[in-house]
Symmetry: C2
Subunit: 183 residues, 2 copies
């Protein structure tokens, strides 16, 4: 895995930071290097927030995301703010509730029912971030599902393991199941 720059965006409270930490720790479990960061300002409260991860097979010299290879947005506000000025071929993951900006043909866009699945399939809105983590890992093959779940398990509340394992697998299935259906 060459250097891959990942940006996750959503609303405060959606667990965007936690998602980025789980991806970083999953990467390390798979013997990769990772840097994870986020910036906060007073103006961010209630608005769009983002967290970033850089993952690489080799030591990371510059830890910040300059030109993301991947951007996820879970809310419209986050998409409006962060799905801009991206390079050609950027992989974009949007929740299905988001209206796409007009010009997306130069990107590779996944639009997945992350929030709906969290609320109506898993039964807990707060698992949206974990569904997203499962989908992202399935797109980039950062680590195995077992390594990813182990990374998640360390960071989620005790007693929610089964719920979050279902969320992780639901996210993974959105990508790999999709490929099976459209061979």
């Amino acid at each position: 895995m060459k250097r891959t720059e990942i940006r996750l965006a959503g609303a405060g409270g959606q667990g965007i930071i936690l998602a980025s930490i789980i991806l970083a720790e999953g990467a390390v479990a798979a013997d990769k290097y990772a840097c994870q960061s986020q910036a906060y300002g007073p103006e961010a409260r209630g608005g769009a927030c983002k967290a970033e991860v850089v993952i690489s097979d080799s030591r990371i010299s510059y830890p910040e995301v300059r030109d993301p290879d991947f951007v996820m947005a879970l809310t419209q506000k986050a998409a409006d703010k962060y799905v801009t000025n991206l390079k050609e071929g950027t992989v974009i993951l949007l929740d299905s509730r988001i209206t796409l900006p007009e010009e997306t043909s130069k990107y590779q866009v996944y639009q997945l029912p992350i929030l709906d699945t969290a609320e109506h399939v898993i039964g807990r809105a707060q698992t949206a971030n974990i569904i997203a983590v499962g989908a992202i890992n399935s797109i980039f093959h950062i680590c195995t599902n077992e390594q990813l779940f182990e990374a998640a398990r360390k960071r989620i509340p005790q007693g929610t393991e089964e719920l979050n394992l279902r969320a992780l697998l639901a996210g993974e299935q959105m990508i790999s199941g999709d490929q099976d259906e459209h061979p």
Copy 2:
């Protein structure tokens, strides 16, 4: 509060990253700006880990810690690795179990019984990071105790609120209580 660069170090599993996130989110609750980051490598597992926070009254242009104003080390390994090459006047917070490196006269050193207090006063070793957060906030006046507890409450397991509030106040008391005793 001008730009303040904070580095926290300890062993994996001590909640160093969580501590840095709580400090960053406490700062934002107090209308400051914050950047939080950490880097992981395969070699870090089992060894010393660090997380960093930059806090400022104004927008932060460079998000990385270059020249820390504050370094905390909760383990000897972390102290050996990260309490080196610091500028004169750096504030250093060490757990009492750590043997100080020889030359510390150019630093401002606090040596506090963080691990012992977590284990024997609070009764839970895992609260050491929260005790540290309380002490650091008391040194730098990042936000009020209420804002800090609210930031912590969002990130700790449900049901551990009282335990962690006690830990936060124990840490705060180690600094401010100390000042009362030696006026």
